[in-house]
Symmetry: C2
Subunit: 361 residues, 2 copies
């Protein structure tokens, strides 16, 4: 049985960001009080989207550095800065608007939780550890595929302990989303492809898994259907494809089922080598043809149709020490690996076999 | 651009009703205080589902008479009864649980709004007239197809004025749903078919309309896909079909796009002849083959596959006065009719042509 927590409401369509002011001032559910805009630093170079943010004198805009995967330290620092900026309001703004890709959206969710719950980000990594609702939060995705906009988690890496884990909580769900497909027009093509495929991978992993749920299946099937339209029919970044990819991501995130083999191997690549999640998924899928035959062929066809050159040659340069770390940081994901292979997954994914998979990337 | 308001969360799966107590007592979002169960009178004869309701001494169970389409009078009466029962709590219970088909769910939503907003049900028929959130409400659908469980409206007929109109409001959305496909096992077969087809019709009307939205299209397409599995593959009422039909209804209700020709003609049949909505849709679709050729053929194939005899012969007995009333109460639905036929819909659906359509039912 699956409990599904939904985002309160969406506003969807080209130009939707232009209606953010109306949402902030005209929607009785949105608290009054100043707004903190947490914006992907990618947008520091683009004045047009920033000019659409209806900033007032007491509002604050903070750029989020997304060079690396988001960390607990980063979230602690941003939360401290917001608390200091709003010290005369008890440290609390009225609303947090997160605008960016999955990293920025995840950090916005974590900062929201931290401001009202106190303590440090690492205190809430796990399941249902967040005690009270965070600051009211609105998500504005500018990159489609991670599903962060509809998921009930925000994944952070604690570099002190090496733990990469989300704040899994109903309180990690956005209260509202502004879904404006115009915002994904400027995404670099390779990043657009890698991130879009994140939806395809997690949905196909879910549908090939043993733990199943009717609602999750329905969302996953529709998300894959939309990914096929985006990546196999016409250009992935024309307007209708950007709309479809935004909806696919939304549905994939709402489903957020248990995954299979791609995501654990991908997590290993991120933790050990610092590879970004979208690219890491594509690398991980490379040697998995025997586990997902039709999906592997479809993945290659999608890359070819969009003129995307998939990365190769990573495995040849890996040291034995790196291979050992990659094995350890992948095999730890027992739930998704067992979802695909059953409880005996360690007998199938032996250290030698995993080494061969990583060397083939 | 489309603003979509979502139900806060779902619990989905066979036996989910057995977890209502956990939701009521263990979920921090659910207010304390007594529960009012508004239950379709159909269940008065079935002790098993009622025994699953975790009633405490201060809770109340009220059966809802769904012999006729729900009325503003009925809602006013139930609200008055609840106010009187809870007069020592300011007239307000903690939670309303609505359990039944679309009529019961719609009445539960309306009673919830009325208890906190005051006045009478007719005061809130229209768009965004409800001022403050209603009593916290949980929906338990026992019949799939109407989409009431996820829609932002609750349709009531005011028999004094003849107005059939919903309380269209973000506050008309359930806070939570318990989705238990076991509950639809006892629905009479014809009613199950007619109501399930409600989802099929409103989604196919949406997809054949002129006003379109990417998210609404995606939900509608998936809902139709699921309806095809339910009604064209195997028995519509076996367990997996009941699960799929419940998900189809949920997605159809979440989309809740503008409709086309079936729903306006169906509304006429309900207002003038008192025909229930699901059956009225099937009657309305009868003579519409020329407007929806593939969908009409599919509708007939679905009925045949499930051994459902579609009603015929209604039209032959209609008086000229009834035909006049049916025309008037259908042609008034300018928005959906225009969505299918454009602004000149009155030139196409002349009184003579409409008379021929009704006579062919």
């Amino acid at each position: 049985m699956k409990a599904i927590r939904n985002v309160g409401s969406y506003l969807f369509g080209p130009g939707a960001l232009g209606r953010l002011e109306e949402v902030l001032r005209g929607d009785p559910r949105v608290p009054a009080g100043p707004v903190v805009y947490l914006v992907d630093h990618f947008f520091a170079g683009f004045t047009a989207p920033l000019a659409k943010l209806p900033q007032r004198p007491l509002d604050r805009l903070i750029f989020m550095d997304t060079t690396h995967e988001p960390s607990t330290d980063q979230v602690d620092q941003v939360a401290a800065r917001v608390r200091a900026d709003f010290s005369d309001l008890g440290g609390l703004p009225g609303v947090i608007v997160g605008m960016g890709g999955g990293a920025t959206l995840d950090m916005a969710k974590a900062v929201s939780n931290l401001l009202t719950n106190g303590g440090q980000a690492a205190d809430y990594q796990g399941w249902d550890l967040v005690k009270v609702p965070g600051v009211y939060k609105i998500g504005v995705p500018t990159l489609s595929g991670t599903g962060s906009e509809t998921s009930r988690t925000c994944v952070l890496t604690n570099y002190q302990t090496g733990v990469k884990l989300g704040m899994n909580s109903d309180f990690s769900v956005f209260d509202q989303l502004i879904l404006d497909p115009d915002l994904t027009a400027t995404v670099p093509r390779e990043q657009y492809f890698h991130t879009g495929l994140d939806t395809y991978f997690h949905c196909m992993e879910t549908l090939n898994g043993r733990a199943r749920n009717g609602i999750v299946d329905a969302y996953s099937e529709k998300a894959i259907d939309l990914c096929r339209q985006v990546f196999l029919q016409g250009d992935m970044q024309d307007q209708s494809s950007r709309e479809n990819m935004m909806i696919a991501s939304l549905m994939g995130g709402a489903a957020a089922g248990n995954t299979g083999l791609v995501h654990p191997l991908s997590a290993g690549l991120s933790v050990v080598l610092g590879v970004h999640h979208g690219l890491a998924n594509c690398l991980a899928m490379g040697p998995l043809a025997e586990f997902y035959p039709p999906e592997h062929a479809e993945f290659l066809a999608m890359a070819q149709a969009q003129g995307i050159k998939l990365p190769t040659g990573l495995g040849a340069d890996l040291s034995d020490e790196q291979i050992g770390k990659l094995y350890a940081s992948s095999i730890v994901h027992a739930k998704p690996l067992g979802n695909h292979l059953g409880e005996g997954f360690r007998d199938i994914l032996t250290p030698a076999r995993m080494a061969a998979l990583f060397r083939a990337m």
